[in-house]
Amino acid sequence: MPKRNSLWANIDWITVILFVTLMLLGWVNIYSSVFDQEHQSIFDTSQRYGKQLIWIGAALVIAFVILIIESNFYVFFSYIIYGTIILLLILVLFIGVEINGQTAWFMVGSFRIQPSEFGKFATALALANYMNTHGFKLQKLKSLAIVSLIILTPAALILLQNDTGSALVYFSFVLVLYREGLSGVVLFFGALMIVLFILSLVVSNLVLALILLGIALIAFFVLNPKFKQFLRIPVFYMASFLFLFIVNLILGKKYEISFLISIASVVGTLIVLGYSFRKRLKYFAIICYIFLGSIIFTFSVDYVFNNILGAHQQARINELLGIKSDPLGAGYNVNQSKIAIGSGGVWGKGFLNGTQTKFDFVPEQDTDFIFCTVGEEWGFAGSILVIGLFMIFLTRLIWLAERQRSGFSRIYGYSVAVILFFHFFVNIGMTIGIMPVIGIPLPFFSYGGSSLWSFTILLFIFIRLDASRYEKF
């Protein structure tokens, strides 16, 4: 049977080996973080490492099943799978079990299943299918709208479950869209918004406005290096400020100076805008729009932060940015996590010798904070190993995706890579204090059946698609 032979021959075994390696490393660390003298048997299913062993076995079965199914199946059934998962996501809101404030689980016997974990591959399938249809063009408004709908529907439903972390994962699809032709401007603005968001929380709005003004002026000068014209710009600002200042004096100092400066900068900008139009200066409009947009965004951040984010989210962001520190409260997890990782040193304390993780100092040590065990017991060397493995794994996935002849496979492959990357980035970033605490698992590492299986399905569909890369569909 040549076809079957070619399946096993065409499977990218490097990826499979990386997958198994990560999974086993994860298990070793779960064993260590839950380990106690009384339950030493690795098959003790009353302990989490025992259970994780079952999940791993099941994951291997799932992987096998996925591989023996025809690759066309995933293409043809992509919408059906997507629709089913959407239905489950709706259903879980009504008949799901609430755990830790999240209505994210179905109880099947004594097992808990988290449908949101399976939303990722379903969305990736649907997205790959839709974007691969003939006549699809990201630049078309309709296409963009449907793509947004596909991505944001599960995200919104998951948000309704109160699982912000899992919902945020869907933002990672932006990178897939970028690869498929979304304007780089979107990434630029996305990055700009993140920078502005952080800056607006860290420095005062007025300072930020002045910084933005400075940047805008520099951009202006770089693009229009006529010094005489450029010199007029500050004059416009000064003039508008002086004017407002005098008006304010006449009114009897009704307004504060900072308010005047804000107004003056807007008025001055408008004047500069008009002047630029008259003189036909290049890019004036773009720079002004970006500047004004940034100002508005900056001022709206405070509102969003204070009124839309929950108290615990505010606390986590405050903690991350060092605005307010509360090592025993909101910052406890991250502080303990950093202590655990930091105490590992270069070579770590050795397998089973971690004291921080073993004695429950780090909460969620076998799920979201599993990287602490790596850092504590294997040290910087272990960190390099794990991060290095992920880097190899992720770039391997991109490389595989790029070698696909079908758009479907490529888009799906990118989706797999960016979803795994998002998890990797947020999870480890959180444990070492460069991301806010967002409770999402580290792929293949963290304890938990649902997440392990969903990542396995996500990955192996791609491996299956890749194995059929010479077929046409």
Partner: protein, 604 residues
Amino acid sequence: MDIFSKRKYLVIAIFLAAGTVFLIKLFGLQVMDSKYKVSATNNVLREIVQYPARGLVYDRNGTLMVFNKPAYDLLITPREVEAFDTTAFCKLLEISKEELNAGIQKAREYSTYKPSILIKQIPPESFAYLQEQLYKFKGFHTQSRTLREYAHSSAAHVLGYVSEVNDNDINRDEYYKPGDYIGASGIEKTYENQLRGVKGIKKQLVDVHNRIQGSYLNGAEDIPAQIGKDIISTLDADLQIYAEQLFRNKRGGVVAIEPSTGEVLALVSAPTYDPGLLVGRVRGTNYNILLRDTLKPLFNRATQAKYPPGSTFKLINTLVGLETGAITTNSRFSCYGKSTTPIRCTHNHVSPADVVDAIRESCNPFLWNTFRATIRKYNSTAEGFNVWREYVASFGIGQILSSDFPNALSGNLPKESLYNGIYGSGRWSPLTIRSLAIGQGELGATPLQMANVAAAIANRGYYYPPHLIKEIENDTIPGSFKKRRNTKISPVNFEPIIEGMEQVVNGNLNATIGVPGLQMCGKTGTVENNQGSDHSVFTAFAPKENPKIAIFVYVENGVWGSRYAAPMASLMVEQYLNDTIAAKRKWVEKRMLDANLLNPNQPK
């Protein structure tokens, strides 16, 4: 074909950038920054303090005086407490339900995870039974401590007591933690650092809830507690106990010193108290009772009472007169008994009297003349007074004698400025300050200081700082104790004084204070007191040659020196030197033991 294929580089770049950022941050956390390693150790290690037993205290003959007895603290870990039979529990511990609830509440406020002491210092008798029953009560456990125990319930003022540290102690010395014990007075206080030992540390791994998970590195880093050093005191337990017996129902003090070393053989402040009262759970209550006692048992009269030395001071004045050349052994002064001015003599004796006569008869007029001659030898009263004062001071009067008596007072040795203040500069004369001639007036000396004077006289001119410590296990006693201090009196001038002192004992007092076969030298004193009967004072040393004991006895309201102080001193000397009281002196002993002088007004 695929115009966006180059975009893969940006995606990969983002991946690699994230990985690089992580590794840089992790390099900082794990390799560069050591603070997390420290935090981790603090997190996981709980240091459990091992309390050492305090050092023991022996007397000079090796008799054990202070030792330790075990006591147990009952600790509660509120989180681990399960519902229990409170009635049975209260009965077991002999506490009320309110006390129990208050204690549990307090513990809970401190921490629900960490153990805190619910009941302190349960004596071993109660503990044995408690431990049998404790299994019924989850969340309670015990820790052992040691408490002081006294072999003879004596020498309370010398030995001192141990109390729980206060905030001052904790702030002053970081060794102490709340709940620790510290020597609060006496030897316990002075030699706290030697007696306390060194607390040990047992390192144990704990989890985030402070529950013990096991020992750290199998105890490799544990520091065992070091038991406190034993101390051999200079006290003679037998003499001390005997002195306390003699002082029963009396107020006053006695200090006995070995002249050749300055070692204090006995130190009694009466009334005293049983040192065992200030141990354990009852300490607080008993302390308050003692504090309120009108007889002031906590007040250490031997080192803190500024008694006018009375006639015993005449020894010093005579010595100063001889040393300055104001008088010689041939000098005689007339005494007209009760009609002598400016100070009359209450005794009937030969006249004119020489130095020996004057000491034997305690002749006030002789002393007045000597004092006046001493001061008049110099150009001005002030100069003469200052010379006199220096001589007196060389006996240790007006000074803290040694570091062994932390609360001792320096007494009063008036200064020129005092009289200048009262009378005006140049407007006072020997006559103005004549009370000093007979050891009264502005003078105030503690029994410790006067015993030291007796030792200096016994030594014919020098003394060693009186001290309470003979040896410290594996340690040295302060060097100052071995440093001889000379008085400003030449040895030869002591002879007539000592001759007089010998005659005091061998004279008409011999019936009550003469110890057969013992050459004792002494001097009585009667200190005027206008709030009751006069005080009875006696200073002595024995034997005359190579003295083994110098003693000063002060009996408040003892009427006159020979009535109580002298016989008591003689009994103590006899007890110390002969280890027994001669049969023919038993009646004296009985009289002294039976005397009750707590009423300040005694029949003449």
